[in-house]
Amino acid sequence: MRGLETLRMQIRMLFKRGREAQLLDAELQYHLDRQIAENINIGMSPEEAYHAALRTFGNHALLRDQTREAWSWNWLESLLRDFRFGARTLLRTPGFSIVTVLVMALGIGANVTLFTIAHCVLLKPLPFRDPGRLMAVYENSGEAWPCNVVAPGMYSEWVRQNRSFPSLAMLGEAEFNLSTEDSELPEMLHGAAFTANMLPTLGVAPALGRNFTVAEDQPSGNRVVLLSWSLWQRRFGGDPSIVDRTIRLNKQLYTVIGVMPKGFAFPNAATQVWTPIYSYYPAARMTSVAAHQFAVVGRLNPEASQAQGLADISAITLRVHNAHLDNPFVSKAANVKPLIEDIVGDIRQPLYVLLAATGCVLLIACLNVANLLVARAVGRRKELAIRAALGGGRLRLLRERLIESLLLAAAGGAAGIALADGAIQWLVCTRQDLVRVETIHIDGEVAVFAFGLIALCALLTGSTAALGATDRKLLTVLQDAARGSSAGQGRTRLRRALLAGEVGLTVVLLIAAGLLLKSYARLRASDLGCTTKNVLTMRISLYGGNYNEPAQRVNFYALMLERVRALPGVEAAGMARTVPGDGYWGDSDFAIVEHPPLPHGVAQAAIDREADPGFFKTMGIPILRGRTFDADRRLDQANQTVVSSSFARQYFPNEDPIGKHLHYDGRNWEIVGIVGDARYELSQAPKPIQYYPLYAGSLNNATLVIRSNHDVEQLALPVQRIVRDLDRDLPVSDVLTMDQLLGKNTADASFDATLILGFAMLSLALAAAGIFGVLSYVVAQRTSELGIRMALGAQRERILTHVLLDGMKPALLGLACGLAASVAVVQAIRSMLFATQPLDPAVFVLVSLGLIVVAGAACMAPAWRASRLDPMQALRME
């Protein structure tokens, strides 16, 4: 009963507060009027009666306030009042508020962006059923290849014998040329080929249609494909009748049996079609236990641990190894890691480093805002002291301070979230190569993080500022403020400490950025072993139809190269399996015919590349000895090979390789030339390479390279026209200049370095602004003191140095702390550095000098102003 009554009361007090306030006034007025009436009754004059009544009544406003304090929701009302008051105070100084909100927005925005990426990419479970039990299974081929891709024959044994993985599925790359349809251009599609049990293993079903059957996953199986959602939308208009229709891939008819759900990006986001693995790859290759080329994914038995699974698979591998002792390429052991680890393992460290960097930026931003708030509080010292003297509770004043910083943080946070949203959209667009990029978006957990961050910033800045601004000695402040003579030293000390912290963090960021930049510069400057200027590359794949015979392929290559070389502007053109700097792409074993046979179970392998005779000249890979392939030797006649100089050094230590023969791919090849080393990856030292003639005709996909003396990109269209004229169904893909290709392959390094540099510069600007602000304030406070000094004969130069040194003190302290911290921190990014020592002295010295210069510049303006003071003016300012 009473509960209901009080509830009704609370609701009324919450929603009809204005009406209640009027009623209270009426109630009190009634009391007053009765008092007046009574006073008149006992014989006072009306005026006398009125004043007497007012006297007994006391302070009307106070009475009203005291009564209202009895009301429920009073805390809410006063909180709202504080918010209103805070907002009004902030709006009175729009410059300060805008700067603070901007600083906060940058800090919070950067953090929310990086957190969103790290959270989505690293922490979100894979979009598969019970993803924790999905494992990537590898062969362990010794120290050089602890996680080697799997040979199909080995996979078959694993499937047959293992007890830990109820389902094991295999996956390989697949490329498809989608032929011209209607008026659309042909297109090269990245795809994947997997076993029929892959989708059930992952626990994913097609959105439309069905999965492959086991019967289709056979060399003799019907040609079927699953399309990605985006390909289906883009090329087929999202027409559901696509299921059971045929499309032409690699000039053959494939039946579309289904469409995968939106967001299914396995093994990566570029994959657009999936086909059964045993029908895609030649049957002859699918029994080898030594040709490592596929990825294997398994679902671990609920009773089995990862270690048990590994032991199980390793034991099987060893058995297979022991059954093939004659083949040195059969692995002895296996490796197992969680699938998520396999997918995001490489990107984890860079993301955490970036996240740490944004954390530093936010901390600096908070310190800076706290600094500004302290400065502001100092300006309001008198106001606050008067309010405290009039009875403003300490806690109440503290709450007001916190509310002010909460308002700032909230506004900054809102702007920051908008900023983060934009940044994420930009990032997702520009970095499509990032793993799991399709999962990145702002979700509920990110929102919670953002709100937490805002609260944290508010608390951090507000309490730091309040800590520095609470004055225990009111009287001193009031007197101090009245005289305006000397600035409180304690407060400046706090501000200097904050500054030193900012500078320290900035130094750490600058050093990290410097190291990453230097590493990236080294990476891009490392000698690839070939020319990269004005070289255009493009991929051409001769799949299916009229390219099944080696002669057909050789004819196409020769005809195309002849026409391309005839184009005006083309200096040279060539073709090879791939160009330097574009990755490993595989190796093959070989034997040297003239050498005694290798001991049983020992083999040697080196990277193999097919190239046409003009490739070395086009790429600027020098022919050191001998010559290139003879252009007129084709097919079976093409039996020459060219080796790189490190190949010659390693395998022919004290003899001349020219004229010797390599046994490779079942044939003998004569070494006719030695060419310079070229790196397969910018960050890796050159490895031995064996080159074989493209005109032997075994290769069906290759990179065309064109060199020009200027503006090579203009040649892209004419070359594509030549290809179209030769075969209108043949797509040309990955049209990139060498510079673009290398840029793409080093995008991670440049991305990390650029972002960290950006954050470091932001921090530097914030720190410089902080130094400038504090010193300007100190100078303003000391105007009269400096004036007196000058009046007494102090030299302007002395004043300048004095103030300058005063301002540099926190910067130098911060620099020292930052350098000390960096020594530890740089060890964390050691593995991200290429040919750069973590304790690179040049970077440390440069950062120190740079920081001193920037800090000096920030101090210079206030110091200069101090030294230019007019003593009379300064003294009159009192």
């Binding site: 009554e5 009361m9 009391h31 302070n59 009475l63 009564t67 209202r68």
Partner: protein
């Protein structure tokens, strides 16, 4: 002005509840009544009376209604709720016990 209440802490609530136990009254009448009945000994200040009234109302011991007063003007009349009546009994008992105890102590010494 001294402390908001010159009365023993908590007794004002009891006095208000008691005063309202016979009939609904407005603030001025409550103050007058306490003053008269106590033989002009207890002076209830507005500064204590109105916060107390509003607090009791928030707590649900008394309820208020705007009615025409004896002078013909609208005034806020307070009356006891059922819960307030119980509270009055309890507080009265408490007070009796307390004053008895105090008397015992004073007479003994």
């Amino acid at each position: 002005m001294g402390k908001p209440s010159d009365l023993v802490q908590g007794t004002l609530d009891l006095l208000i509840l008691k005063t309202l136990s016979l009939e609904a009254k407005h603030g001025w009448a409550i103050a007058k009544r306490i003053q008269q009945v106590s033989g002009e000994v207890l002076q209830v200040q507005q500064g204590s009376l109105y916060p107390a009234l509003h607090r009791l109302e928030q707590q649900g011991w008394i309820k208020a209604k705007w009615m025409e007063s004896e002078t013909g003007r609208q005034a806020k009349f307070y009356s006891l709720t059922a819960a307030g009546r119980k509270q009055l009994e309890q507080e009265t008992a408490n007070w009796s016990r307390l004053s008895l105890a105090i008397n015992l102590v004073i007479e003994e010494v």
